[in-house]
Structure formats: C-alpha cells, structure tokens
Symmetry: C2
Subunit: 242 residues, 2 copies
Amino acid sequence: MWSNHINYYLSMRTHQLVLSWIENELSAGRLALGGRLPAERSLAEHLKVSRTSVREAIRILEAMGVVRAGVGSGPEAGTVVISDPTAALGSALRLHVATQHLPVADIVETRVLLESWAAAKARPDAPELDEAADLLHAMDASEGLDISGFLALDVRFHLALANAAGNAVVSAMMGSLRESIQGYAAELTSGLPDWDATASRLRTEHREILAAIREGDGGRAATLVAAHIEGYYKEAGLAAGL
Amino acid sequence: MWSNHINYYLSMRTHQLVLSWIENELSAGRLALGGRLPAERSLAEHLKVSRTSVREAIRILEAMGVVRAGVGSGPEAGTVVISDPTAALGSALRLHVATQHLPVADIVETRVLLESWAAAKARPDAPELDEAADLLHAMDASEGLDISGFLALDVRFHLALANAAGNAVVSAMMGSLRESIQGYAAELTSGLPDWDATASRLRTEHREILAAIREGDGGRAATLVAAHIEGYYKEAGLAAGL
C-alpha cells in the first residue's frame, strides 16, 4: 500500500519527463509528422521510467491531438505523430465551458472576432473558396439533409472560409470554439420555431459572404459574417428563452 | 502478454468513459470549481473501470488545466477542480508549434489580432488598468531586473490589458499564444544587440498604449499595440538573422 503510494507520486513526475523528452525530439526535428514514437517498452527503458508513465504521457499527447495511439502489430502499428490541434483545443475549451469558467457569450464573441478577421483577410482567389462553394451546393439539397447534416456542412463551410485567410492558428482556434459549444448550439437549434425558414436565411447569408470575398470586398465580408453569427445565436437564444 | 494486450485496449476506451463522466458532472453542476473528485478507488468502482483508467483520465484533465491532482492525505487531499485554460491551451499549442504544424508567424499574427481587439474594447475605467499601471512602475526599476524578470512583468502587463476587455476566452487564448512561443521568444531576445535600448523603447510604447485606453481612444490603442508587437518580433528576428 505504502509502496503503491510512493510509486504514484514518483510516476506523477516521470510522465512529465516523458512529455518533455518527446517535445524535445519534435522541436529538434528528430521526430516529425507521420513519424512513430519508439515502442512503449524501449522508451521506458531509455528514459528509465515505468511503462505506466510512458502510457500516461501518450494518453496526454493523444488528448492534445499530437499522436494517434497505435493499434495492432506489424509495420502499421505504433504511436504516430499527427497534428490535430483543433480537436484538442476544442475538448479543452469544452471542459472549461463545463466548469463555467468560460461563458458561452465569450466563446461566441471570440468566434465573431476570428471569423470576421478571416473573412476580411481571405484572398479572393484562394482555392479554399471553391470548396466553400461546393459545400453551399450540398447545403441546397432539400432531400436527405436533416438539421445535423446541414450543421455539419455549415461547420465545414465556415472552416473553409477561415482557411482561405491562410493562418493555421486562427483556423485551429476558430474550429475549436465551434466544437466547444456544439452541444449547446445543437440544443439551441432544436428549439427553433421554423427550421426551414432559418436554414433558408442561412443559405442566403452564406452566399452573400462568399460573394463579398470573391469580389475582394473584405470589409463587407467581415460585417456580413459578424451579423450572420450574431443573428443566429440571437434568434436561437430568443426561441430558447435565453 | 496477451492479456496485457487486451487490458491495454480495454483501458484505451475506459479512460474516455471516465472523462465523459467527469464532463457530465461538471456540466450538470454536480461538480464545480473548487470541488473534489471522488477518490480514485470509489470512482473506479462506481464506473466499473480499472484504477489505471481513472488515473489516466485524471492525468489528461490535469494537462488540460481542469483539475489539480491531490497530494498527501487528510481533508486537503484529493483531486480538486480548477480552471486554468491558459496553461493547458499553451502547452497544446506549444506541442503543435514543435511539430511545425503551427508556424510561429501565424502565432504572432493571431496575438496581434487578439490584443489589438482587446485594446480597442478595453473599458477606460476597468480596474485591470490600475494593475497594468503598477506593472509599468515595476518595469521601470533599473536595478535587480534582468531580461527574464522584465519579460515576466511584460507578460502580466499584456494580460492585464487583455483582461480589461472582459472576454475570458480571448484572455485565455492570448495568454496561451504567448506561452506557446516563450522558448522561441527568449531565444530571439537573447540575440538583441542592445537590450537596454529595446527595453527603454518597450517602456515608452507600453505607456502610450495604456494612455490611449485611458483616454477612451480604442482605435489608437489597437494600432499602437499592433505596431508594438510586430515591431518587437521584427527587431528581434532581424537581429537573429531570421
């Protein structure tokens, strides 16, 4: 019992040692995107720590979107370095929204800030805008597209616009904000009195935003995006009595 | 060996079960800031998972700044719910900068975006501005303040300005951006040809930014902050030959 206790606190420090080692390998370029971490056992031996500590560090890196833990054996097995900051930041923000440290209103305001900046900065000839146009076509489908299908395309449309501004940090943050209040937004949406009317309005607004960017009118695109996002939360919030 | 393997993949799923349970407790308000998680053993029994899985989930929550793991025993022991999104987002971003998925230039550009927005929005009578003024006094000290001491105060000054805008998400993101390139910035700074001259310029700029906010001239404050941040990375980057 006592020795379990001691091991527990020793491993508290050692999993951080593993994290630092991996971060250094990444910074030094010895470990790169698509590369594989050493096997759990060799890493534990190399760093003179327990396999439990190695596994804890890998769990944290997984949660931060830096690795995908390996499954199975053979050449395809092993823990691979990936880069998915959006999902990781999104889970962290969602947890802090749950503790009520981060108010939903602040999340929405930050979304408006990042997305209107991106709309103003997006290049009119960015290839991401073609993707955005394709997504608008898909959202026009009147059959086989329920609310959640529509919203999934909507997320991708907004991300495509953000990507057209060419800043990976803004894209990751914007995606994570949206992800952090997904549950809240779904609840709001389900309370809307007339989804078809709302969807139709959203479609028109999307078209206007894309057109403004295509025409090189960043200022107008930014204003339209801000009104589009704020209008939606306002309409849905009023319907939900918030 | 084989059963170890099986346990490993079972626990891969179960630590996520523990995470979901804790997130639900937070969302429902049954677990709040300052509250304590159930003991590891009771949580494991309640959720019918291994203690290893519970510990892995707690490690992830620690890394996300949602809990502080307990040390020792007695009434003060146990894992406490905290809210430190800045540190958590900062570590995640830093790891993604290390994988080179997130370019430093994009981090700096996002910092400029968030801080100039905050400077434009800060209320001239916000109490955080008094704190900012005190920090400027502390940064005037010519004795006993080395570069790292100066920079530590500088971080707090910029955070105080951001806080004056009253958006907790923007504050957390801004702090995390700065944290994510701390190592890079320290390296840049150490290459500056004349630190005293740079520090003197930074002091003057800080004063001008604070004065503009106090006078209610948000537009000017935003422009000054952008020039201040961009100027610094440019000067330090040129000195480092980047």
